[in-house]
């Protein structure tokens, strides 16, 4: 009898556990905060840009937002603050989930394909519009209706349209530019008064630094491909770079010229002796940030990443990758990147979602994002840049949608060849491979 009772009890427990496990998961995804009481009027806080344009809907529903950031990152904290304010103002609940970069990359598409409710998501502009393009809502009418573009960067908006095939399907935030970042104190010490705009000026700068006993350039394995990408891009444009790496056209004359230019840099001793073995973030942290090298080709997120090592008094400089003689692109062509926010085409709360996007990307929270994440403001009326970003401003202001390069100027477009480019180009920069050996190795590898 006792056994029977025990078995009934155990079976009941198992059934209960299974039911709980199979239950609706939404109950587990507790919203970040309890919803504020619903409001029927437009919020009175005029500092928040969204409020001027779109009357806040107080449907009392729940928006689900998957973000690419980790909850501890400054970007996430600003987004959290914006979401809190939005919920308090509108009464709409937001289920904000920080997935991290790999979590977003691995999980978002599966969830979208399964029809899971995700109203808003964010990631890099190219990935959102390229990889997840079929899940995006067209935002043109919402943008026109709310007058959003009055305070948006025309270049960033145009880039967002270009990557979506001519229509707007995502809203940019946290823009960055990829350029040479340098230590202004070391430039001053070497007597350099102007940033280089051409390759010969760049060589002069390197020589002056070397003469002053300063290591001119360092890099890490994670970003070294960007140097070859930029140089090939300057010589032949991005389309040609993509053609070379995807179709194996390494016998193109611009490859040889690039290799010879870099062989010259290596032979003159302009690279850090540690370059061949710098695994990220060794170069940026132990060399550039600590004053051991003067220049590093990287994104404008760099000053933020190393701010704990450089301290607040580090004087940053920034210049666009120099133009190369006989090349087709000048210094105006840049790899401009940014995160974007997009709305799921199946979202039933598009207006609410767009309103939240406006909270995050304009006004108070855009300014907060610039300040806390040391990034470039997206809202054109936020004219105060973080101190560490001041020198990026002249480079950023030169960006155009037409002159926009994608990541590493397309040199990493072919997964099968990227590791081989990285290995051989590192050897070229370290001086353990000649220009001709580089070209031969790449031709052999792409056969």
């Amino acid at each position: 009898m006792k056994k029977k009772l025990l078995s009934i009890l155990l079976s009941a427990t198992m059934a209960a556990a299974m039911l709980a496990g199979c239950g609706n998961s939404s109950s587990q995804n507790t919203p970040t905060q309890d919803p504020a009481p619903a409001q029927t009027e437009t919020p009175s806080n005029t500092e928040t840009p969204a409020n001027n344009e779109t009357p806040a809907e107080s449907t009392g529903g729940t928006l689900v937002y998957w973000s690419m950031w980790e909850a501890t990152e400054p970007q996430a904290q600003v987004i959290q603050a914006a979401v809190d304010k939005y919920m308090a103002d509108t009464g709409v609940t937001v289920d904000l989930q920080f997935k991290g970069r790999t979590g977003q990359r691995e999980g978002l598409e599966a969830a979208l394909a399964a029809g899971q409710q995700i109203d808003i998501f964010d990631e890099d502009v190219d990935r959102v519009n390229g990889t997840w393009g079929s899940y995006l809502m067209d935002l043109e009418s919402l943008v026109a209706e709310t007058g959003y573009e009055q305070k948006a960067s025309p270049a960033l908006m145009q880039i967002a349209r270009d990557v979506a095939g001519g229509t707007l399907k995502s809203i940019p935030y946290q823009a960055s530019v990829f350029a040479f970042f340098y230590n202004q104190d070391l430039f001053d010490q070497a007597g350099i008064t102007a940033v280089p705009t051409t390759w010969s000026e760049f060589l002069d700068v390197c020589q002056k630094l070397k003469d002053a006993g300063i290591v001119p350039i360092t890099c890490d394995d994670a970003y070294i491909d960007c140097m070859i990408g930029y140089h090939l891009g300057r010589l032949g444009g991005e389309d040609k770079v993509v053609d070379i790496v995807t179709n194996g056209k390494w016998d193109d004359p611009i490859v040889k010229q690039m290799a010879e230019d870099y062989e010259e840099l290596a032979s003159k001793g302009y690279f850090s002796p540690n370059l061949a073995q710098n695994v990220w973030p060794a170069g940026q942290n132990t060399e550039l940030a600590l004053g051991g090298a003067a220049m590093y080709l990287n994104g404008s997120w760099l000053p933020n990443e190393v701010k704990n090592m450089t301290g607040p008094d580090f004087r940053w400089g920034c210049f666009s990758y120099p133009a190369v003689d006989g090349g087709v692109d000048g210094t105006e062509a840049l790899n401009v990147s940014n995160q974007v926010l997009a709305i799921n085409k199946d979202s039933k709360m598009a207006k609410e979602a767009f309103n939240l996007i406006t909270y995050i990307t304009q006004g108070e929270f855009d300014a907060m994002m610039a300040e806390q994440a040391v990034s470039i403001p997206t809202d054109t009326t936020n004219t105060t840049w973080p101190k560490l970003m001041a020198n990026v401003k002249p480079v950023y202001e030169g960006i155009t949608a037409e002159g926009r390069y994608s990541w590493a100027v397309g040199v990493e477009s072919n997964n099968d060849i990227t590791p081989i480019i990285k290995e051989n180009f590192t050897k070229l920069c370290a001086g353990s491979m000649t220009a001709q050996e580089f070209v031969d190795a790449m031709i052999a590898a792409s056969k």
Binding site: A110, D221, W407, I417, E423
Partner: protein, 301 residues
């Protein structure tokens, strides 16, 4: 005892159902996927494009995939020899009645408790650092300037650096398995052997080793499975973009299935599935060969 078939069915059904859903269905789906071109891993079957064995042909003709298989073979073979030798040596020493056995066992096992990310970062940014690295300082202090100058993380030595770091973290785990095997052997057998005049080396050669056949089989199978899944260490040793010295088939599979870290690249989940199928075949092969070579059912003790 009276058996009721319906009760048997009732109790077995959930387990069988879950097994079919969680194991059998994904295996069949993965094998099927490997014959198709598929953009996203979650695409519906109607969006798959049949390509026959093209994915396998592409893998065979892609030099970076061949490099990744070679790297995996080297990790499995050389890493296996290093790890098994050290693990067995430590296991024999620790079970020989030395003092502070528990302390040494804990110390050798310690790397297994530390997160692999932290461990790999320590090796990368400290031990191998060309500026203030442990190896550089240690070899310089010993006057071995040739060794101190080795660029551990350059492409010529990166694989060796990865292998040393990985093996360091794996010895403790396999040592514990060996220890449990050795402790299973009755001390009476050793005592009898000692009375018959067998010294420690003879005891090890003619008693411990033959009686550890089954444990060897377990260790080799475990080692093969963990080697085939080699991913994290490779990722940390070549952040963001893969590296020809440290790429493994799992990393290649990830790149093909989810795309690269920064650049938006073409994806083919079918190719990723083909890599998965090949790796599974490798594990089954190793397991079959082990079973043939290491028969442990001829000894009872």
């Amino acid at each position: 005892m009276k058996k009721s078939k319906s009760v048997l069915f009732l109790f077995l059904a959930p387990a069988v159902l879950i097994f079919l859903l969680v194991f059998v269905y994904p295996i069949i789906r993965t094998v099927l996927m490997s014959f198709f071109k598929i953009d996203a891993v979650t695409d519906s079957i109607s969006a798959w494009q049949f390509t026959g064995v093209e994915n396998y042909i592409k893998l065979a003709s892609t030099s970076i995939f061949r490099s990744s298989m070679l790297n995996l073979l080297k990790i499995w073979l050389f890493g296996g020899i290093i790890v098994m030798s050290l693990a067995l040596l430590f296991a024999v020493i620790l079970t020989s009645g030395i003092r502070f056995k528990k302390f040494f066992r804990a110390v050798i096992y310690m790397p297994n408790i530390v997160s692999a990310v932290a461990l790999a970062t320590m090796w990368l940014q400290y031990v191998y650092s060309p500026q203030y690295g442990l190896f550089k300082d240690m070899f310089s202090a010993l006057g071995l300037d040739g060794l101190a100058k080795i660029q551990w993380l350059s492409s010529d030595h990166k694989f060796t650096a990865l292998l040393i770091a990985y093996c360091f973290g794996m010895v403790g785990y396999h040592m514990l398995i060996f220890m449990s095997g050795i402790e299973r052997i009755s001390p009476d057998l050793y005592e009898a052997a000692r009375i018959d005049g067998a010294n420690k080396i003879k005891q090890f050669r003619y008693m411990t080793l033959p009686l550890l056949k089954g444990i060897f089989k377990t260790n080799i199978t475990m080692w093969s499975i963990t080697s085939v899944g080699f991913f994290l260490w490779s990722q940390i040793f070549s952040t963001v973009t893969a590296d020809s010295q440290t790429i493994t088939p799992m990393v290649y599979m990830y790149l093909q299935t989810f795309g690269a870290g920064n650049a938006v690249t073409e994806r083919n989940a079918g190719l990723g599935a083909a890599v998965g199928v090949l790796l599974s075949i490798c594990v089954v092969l190793v397991f079959t060969v082990c079973n043939r070579l290491l028969k442990d059912d001829d000894l009872e003790f």
